[in-house]
């Protein structure tokens, strides 16, 4: 039982991270390969403040969220100056810079890291495996709620239009800068929250756990499941997150399988397994949704088309390859 709880908690932490990352990558269309760094910032905040300063875990979670939100703000500002591939590379670089900070700034414990992180307790009761999973699920619910809320508001519409055509979006009055920054702030804050849980769960943090590799895994989860969708991010976390344990019977080949699965899914379902316009999602739609009554209805289903209508003056046909 404990074993399943532990695996589930790991998966749930990944799910939280992926849902957060999806806001920046899926909603706002920004290449973000540094989610691992924000996981690390959140984790280190809890690690250092709860061991060296003896603060309560719950206070540390707040600190983690605030600090990562601020760091996300910085990344958001950077994203204003750079686009697409440039931004992607810079986020890659951010991983290295952050890991270097963890390793070289003595406050973070140096190469040895921070260990003996105390277990959180609530009402005097110390956390065990069930409590970790429960807290993880609460965090997941929060992230899903935040993400869902964003997607239904003007921020979500704005982000979608930025994703599809930033220039058009800006010329229609979307506050591109603030929205982009908001996307990064939220994505990072969610990562910080996950990191806060990660630290006591692992009981120790070391700099090398939060590098580029970790960020890639999270991005892979989002894209594998279905970029732009909450359900995709969660599915990606479940499948790729549980893979190392589920495939222990072919222990030596797990990483190979990971890479192969990732490639195959992206090759044949570039929108992700259950992403928008994937085979699974289309089948689901055919089975369960009413067909739209008019063409105007159909185009309104897609926020991007709504903006495109405003800018280009005609409804978008499905399957238009955007450059």
């Amino acid at each position: 039982m404990s074993y399943f709880l532990v695996i589930a908690t790991t998966v749930v932490i990944y799910a939280v991270l992926s849902v957060g990352l999806n806001i920046a990558v899926g909603y706002a269309g920004q290449p973000h390969l540094a989610q691992g760094a924000f996981l690390g910032i959140g984790a280190y905040m809890v690690a250092v403040f709860s061991t060296r300063y003896g603060l309560s875990f719950w206070l540390c979670v707040l600190i983690a969220i605030v600090v990562t939100a601020l760091s996300g703000f910085v990344l958001g500002v950077i994203s204003l100056r750079l686009r697409d591939d440039f931004l992607a590379i810079v986020t890659i670089g951010l991983n290295f810079v952050v890991v270097a900070i963890f390793q070289y700034v003595p406050w973070f414990g140096g190469a040895t890291g921070v260990y003996a992180i105390p277990l959180p307790s609530i009402g005097g009761h110390e956390f065990g495996n069930p409590e970790f999973l429960l807290l993880g699920l609460v965090m997941l619910a929060i992230s899903v709620a935040v993400s869902g809320y964003i997607s239904r508001t003007w921020l979500g519409l704005g982000l979608a239009s930025i994703r599809d055509d930033e220039l058009a979006s800006a010329s229609s009055g979307t506050p591109v800068a603030s929205f982009k920054i908001a996307a990064f702030v939220v994505a990072s804050a969610i990562a910080g929250m996950a990191g806060a849980l990660y630290a006591p769960f692992l009981s120790a943090v070391t700099p090398t756990s939060f590098g580029f590799t970790e960020s890639i895994v999270m991005l892979a989860m989002v894209m594998f499941g279905g970029v732009g969708t909450i359900r995709g991010a969660i599915l990606g976390a479940i499948v790729l997150g549980a893979l190392p344990e589920a495939f222990r019977f072919v222990s030596d080949y797990r990483l190979l399988i990971f890479g192969a699965i990732l490639v195959l899914v992206l090759r044949f379902q570039p929108h992700g397994i259950i992403g928008t316009d994937s085979a699974a999602a289309n089948a689901w739609k055919r089975l369960f949704s009413r067909p739209p009554k008019t063409e105007y209805d159909a185009s309104c289903n897609d926020a991007a088309s709504a903006m495109s209508v405003a800018v280009h003056g005609e409804p978008e046909q499905p399957g238009d390859g955007k450059d």
Partner: protein, 412 residues
Amino acid sequence: MKRTSTARVTAVAAAALLGIAGLAGCSSGSSTTGSSDQGQSAGSVSASNSSSENSSGGTIKIGFFSPQSGSEASDGKSALDAAQLAVKDINAAGGLDGKKIQLVQYDDGSDPKQAVSIATKLTTQDNVAAVVSGSYSDQTLAAASIFQRAGVPMLAAYAVNPGIPGTGDEIFQIATSGPVEGKAGAQALIKDLGAKKIAIISIDNDFGTALVQGFTEQAAKLGATIVSTNKNQFGEKDFGPVIDKAVAAGADGFYMVEYAAEGQQFLTAFRQRNLTQKIVGTEGIDSTQQFIEPNGKLADGMVFTTVLNRDSTDPTTQAFIKDFTSAYGHAPDMVGATTYDSFKVLQAASKNGTTADNLKAGITDLANFQGVTGTVEKFVNRISVHPVELQVFKDGAVHHYGTVDDPDIINP
């Protein structure tokens, strides 16, 4: 705008989660890699939660984890090979307190998160009596608190992060204490080789930090000065500039705390410059396949601190070297020796029984235990205390050079 049904999403997610977890549970039965025929896993995993009943009839389960994939796979293979040899030897001699060892081993993929899952599995599903870690510090640290909370003794073969034995009374370290090894290195470089102005070049991780700390302390006591210190990352390949800097600062001795790959690059640059300074290395380069075989000639004259004395006259050590070499095609090294001894320590500690308390007491009370890593005098703060072996490279092979057994030095 399509309304995402959050309830629907969560239901699907929960169902998938349970499905995958179930799949993971079903695969818990077979946990061995194809190469091992020793580590048969628990085919029939009973749902027993009692941790005292951990052997069935004449067998006792011992857990083991090591990196078989990822960047640390080289050392992981060494460790696993040694573990399987140890189990074979111990079982041939009657096992632990009469019970044959059943090795339950997992690959942690050089990933601390997997170490957590493995530790949970070993303590709650496989119900092992004790665990040996054949892994690096990151993974061992993460796993240690789980073993501590579950009351399962764990021996760390070669990880040296101070947080590991510090986790609690179930956790023991077989590897030489980092600062102790550093002090021994200072003895070798300053007293034996006569260097007075030292340049330190070290890998920047917990291993490097611990050794450099001990070295610096002892160097001060011995009246030598450190003229330059440089720490590098894994994968560093160009040591030329820092060597030149050190030489310019007047260094007559180098203390090199590196692993095999970086050590090779350091020595290459060193030889290219035809330098004559003395070099003392550490157990970081004590790997047959990664360093000694390919680079023995490069390292000619270099002394290093380690645990395995290839020229030892002790029959256990000689037998170990011979058996390992014939079983695996290459000589054993530090990782292999410490892993092997972790099991031998368990064997010695099991004299009075194999419950967790018996083993813990057995290890703590160990005195002058004869292992392949020499004589373990005792465990202090759960770290093994033993003389530090000094080996030297001569004509491509390593030989005994000396021993550091001053109690002031080897007691952590």
